[in-house]
Structure formats: C-alpha cells, structure tokens
Amino acid sequence: MASDKDLDSPDRRDFLGKVTTAVGAVGVAGACVPFISSMNPSKDVTSKSTSLVDLASIPKGKTHTIEWQGKPVFVTHRSDETIADMQDVSTEIDPQADADRIQKPEWLVVVGLCTHLGCVPNRNEEGWICPCHGSIYDNSGRVVRGPAPSNLIVPHYEFVDEKTIIVGKKV
C-alpha cells in the first residue's frame, strides 16, 4: 500500500478536519432531536392536558372522582365541621396547614394516587385509606399513617367561575 505513513502525519488532525468533524457532530445531534421529540406526548394527548370540573354537581360532603391526564382527581365538597376539624389536626409525617392545601376551604382537590406506590385510596368518613398498604389520609389529603411518605398531591387548578374549576395547565 502506498501511504501508510501519511496516516500518522500530524497535520491529519488539523483545523479543517476538526471543523468538519464539529459541523458533522452538530448535524448528527440535530438529527436526533425530531426522533426524541416524537416520543413526547403528541398533539392530541397534550390537548387533553386540562380537565373542566363542574362543582355544582357535587353536593356538600360528597367526593367526586374526575379524570385528569389519565389520573383520578378527588374533588371533595367539604362541610363546615370537616373544615373546622382539619384546622387543628397536626400530622407528623408531612406536616402542612390545611390552608396551604386549598384555594377555597369547602373545596379540596387532590390527585387520587397514594404517594407510596400509586394505588387509588378509598374514601371513608375520616378521609382516605389506601387498599394496597393501608396508608391513611385525612380530609385535607394529608397522610396520617404510613407507609406513604407525603401528603396527596394538590394539582394545579384554577377557578374559572364560582362553580367551575379547570385542573392542570395547558401544555
């Protein structure tokens, strides 16, 4: 072969070669973008990123489970006694004031997935109890007994008017 020696010549790795390699690398990286992006939620999925909830249909003391981004969300119309009860309960695992978990005291909105391993807790008088490992939440969605490590998540929601909320943000 004619030119084995040329292979090792030091100017092989010179400026032109480096620039070309860099430009090529940018192209390869750029080519990955559409493929990676295609695995993100598609337009029809992101358009369902919010849910409207009609509060008028939920009587006092009742909880409705609505679907938001494929997950259950508990919307509870709390009675005045429940609200009062919730003010002085101090939970130990993840202490949080009831006021920090609500926008209007009579409406509690929490994602209905146990913060332990994601099972859907069952409703009872005192709050919720998770069927999987027995975590207990109070009527503010705060964890009273483990193994759940934290309170039920409060999703982003806004009052559109007195009787309607929109859960989630537009993507």
Binding site: M1, A2, D4, P34, F35
Partner: protein
C-alpha cells in the same frame, strides 16, 4: 485514559485489529470512481429506514380500522411525525435508486466476475429481500394503492400449479387482503430488516475477503492500493453529503412526489382505482409480468428477470479481464440493456393497451435476449481481442498484476505453500 480503555478492550476483544484490518489498513484500489460510493450510501439509507421505521412503529396501528388514521395521526399530531414518515417513504425510493445504480455499476464494470461471484449473489439476495420488504411495507398505509397492489401481487401466487388458490388464501389469511394480511405484513415488514442486516454483514465479509473491484476490472498492483481510512471514508462522506442534499430536497420540498395520490384515499375493497400501478421501482418487472399473455408464464418471466442475474458469472464467458471498459461488445450490450430497462419502466406505468402491449413484448424479448446472447458475444469479443490486442492501459495493468503474482509464486515456492500456489497458477492461466 482513553488509551488505557482501549488497551483494556484490546486484551479482551480484537478491536484495534478489526479497525486496522477493516479500515485503516484495508486496501482499496486508488482508481475507484464515485460509482463505488453507492454501496456505502445504500448502507446509510438502510440505517435511516431502520431508525425511522422503528419510530413510526411506535405510533402506527396495524389494524384495518385504524391503519390509515394512524398514519394521519403521525402526520398531524405526533411531534415531527411528518418528518419521520416522509423520511421513511422517500427513503424507500432512495434505497432502490441507490441499489439500482450499485447493481448497474457492478454490471458495467464486470464486478460480478471471478472471484466475486458470492459477493454478487449475496447482493442479489439483498435485492430480493429489499423488494419483499418494500412490497409489504407499502400495504401498511392502507390506502387504495396499498390494498390493490397487495391484492394483485398476492393473487399472482394463484398460478402455482394445483394448489394456487389455497396458497393465495394462506398468504392473505383471508379471502381478500384483510386485517390478517395487514397484521402479518406489518410483523414481517419489521422482521425482514433484521434478515437484511445479516445479509449485509455477509455481503461485507465477502467484500473484505475478495476486496473491491475497480474500474479497470484488473486486480491492481499492491502499490496502487490505498487504505480505506482516511481516503475512502472522506470520499464516501463527501458523496453522502451530495446525496443528502438531493434526498432532503425531496423530503422537505417534494415528499408527495413519491406518494401516489390514490394512496391518500383509504383502502376500499369494493372499488378498484381506474389505474393500478406499482411503485416506480417495480415498474420494469411489472411490465415483464404483463407482456407474457399466459399468467403462469408472466410470473415465471418476472421471477426470472431477476434470478437470471445469478447466472451472470457463467453467461459471461470472456477471459478478457475487466468490465465494459476494455470490452466494446459487452459495453454496447450493457447500454442496450439500460435503455431497455427504461423502456420497460415506461411501459409498466402505462395501461396495457395498444402500442404499449407490443412495445412491452419487444422490450421483454430484448431483455432476455441480451442475457442469452451474452455467452456468444463475450466469446467472440474475446477472440477479437486476442487478435487485435488489448488497449495499452489494460496490457500494462495485466502485466503488472502478473509480475506481482509471479513474485508471490516465487516467494511461496520457497515457503512451500502448495494450496496458495495452486490458486495463483489458476489465476495466471485464466488471465493469459
């Protein structure tokens, strides 16, 4: 640090040796022109098809009720879905364009000749696999052309003697092309690329064993070989750049050029479009199929139109080395064959009426006639070359090669390597 990692790997895996053997010390004739880049380009587009195909499969639904809609879901709702789909649809056409040029180069320069027969046959196997994959992939969008194309081509198997009808139903899994057909075509369309990858690996092993042919068709003297890397890596990458400009030109500015309008209409088993045409890359073979009046004969002729290439190493009986370059008779044949193929392609796109029936038959006759004439032409041409002598360039290349072979014979005699010696003697005999 990097050196240490490589040293660690090299102790356990022949990485360094492989890089040397296949790249930095792999000898390639220095006189290769850009026609020799198309194999690399085909491999590149294979990767494009694999990647885009896998990402399409993440969103596609192989169900007659959902297939067409899922393509529109990809086109309109999946992020960059339109890009991935157009890459795949344009890529299919590009793949065939590249492979046809690659095969055309092999024929023109006589690269199928000894000792590259296995390379040639694995290449033809790859062509058949590619055709099967493309055909099955074309059903997946579930448009009118998809459906009727699959309907017609599966119906061809009905010419199988005695069991024709049951073969067709077995292929379809239904009485017509239906849900079962679509689902199995999807499964196989996903499977075949794996087989193609294996076949490509075999093709490459064979190539690196016999090394590249070259435009002169004569094995070059060792001093005229240069390492693949960096010379041909950079040359092929430049070729790739030019190809990508054309390819992305279509992807971004004329992607619909490769998609027939009829295929934007959902499949309807009750209505056949007025004019069914296969994709452009099947047109010449489709024309051959239609130009034989007997259905069984047509199918056999279509199969033969590709399988006959397997016989090229035997049909070409000339001992004049090289391809068309030093062989005027063969050169004319190859050109006639190229033109004939274009005529067949044109006829394949027309409705089988009037003049086109006749034209198709003539072109089919010429197509096969050329193959049958080849043994006689190549023998005659050889006799003429013996009388008139080869061009001076060819004489020089042959002399140089023989000198080198003689040198190695001399060397081997000392080493007593009988087997190698026999090989070299055979080559010297062949070429004198």
């Amino acid at each position: 640090m990097i050196k240490k990692v490589f040293a660690w790997v090299d102790e356990r895996f022949p990485l360094d040796e492989m890089i040397k053997h296949e790249l930095t010390e792999y000898p390639v004739p220095r006189n290769l022109n850009y026609m020799w880049s198309f194999g690399f380009l085909a491999m590149f587009i294979l990767i494009v098809q694999l990647v885009s195909g896998i990402f399409l499969a993440m969103h596609y639904k192989a169900d007659v009720g959902m297939a067409f809609d899922s393509i529109q879901h990809i086109m309109r709702e999946v992020n960059y879905g339109w890009l991935i789909r157009y890459l795949h649809s344009t890529g299919a056409s590009a793949f065939f364009a590249l492979i046809f040029i690659h095969i055309g180069r092999t024929l023109y320069y006589g690269s199928y000749r000894r000792p590259r027969e296995l390379l040639w046959w694995t290449g033809l196997l790859l062509l058949l696999l590619l055709m099967a994959t493309a055909f099955m992939g074309y059903l997946l969008p579930w448009g009118q052309m998809s459906f009727w194309g699959a309907q017609v081509i599966t119906a061809l198997f009905g010419v199988t003697p005695f069991i024709g009808e049951s073969v067709v139903i077995w292929l379809r899994g239904d009485f017509v092309v239906g849900d079962a057909t679509l689902t199995r075509f999807f499964a196989l369309h996903y499977l075949f690329p794996f087989i193609i990858c294996v076949a490509v690996a075999i093709h490459l092993v064979a190539l690196h064993w016999v090394k590249s042919s070259n435009p002169s068709g004569i094995t070059l003297h060792a001093k005229d070989n240069i390492p693949f890397h960096p010379y041909f890596t950079v040359k092929d990458l430049f070729g790739l750049g030019v190809f990508l400009i054309i390819f992305f030109g279509f992807v971004f500015f004329a992607p619909e050029f490769w998609i027939m309008p009829e295929n934007n209409v959902p499949a309807d088993p009750m209505v056949t479009p007025p004019h069914i045409v296969p994709e452009w890359y099947f047109l010449p073979f489709y024309a051959i199929l239609r130009s034989i009046p007997d259905p069984l004969g047509g199918v056999v002729a279509m199969a033969m139109s590709i399988l006959i290439f397997l016989a090229m190493p035997w049909l070409d009986r000339s001992n004049v080395p090289g391809g068309a370059k030093f062989r005027p008779g063969y050169r004319i044949m190859v050109y006639v064959w190229f033109v004939d193929l274009m005529v067949l392609g044109y006829v394949g796109a027309q409705a089988p009426e009037g003049i086109f029936v006749l034209l198709g038959r003539i072109a089919t006759f010429v197509y096969f006639g050329l193959f049958l004439l080849l043994p006689f032409i190549s023998k005659r041409e050889e006799r003429r070359s013996r009388v008139q002598g080869l061009p001076r360039e060819a004489e020089r290349l042959i002399r140089e090669e023989q000198e080198e072979l003689l040198r190695s014979e001399h060397y081997l005699r000392r080493e007593n390597d009988e087997k190698e010696l026999k090989n070299i003697r055979k080559r010297l005999e062949d070429e004198s």
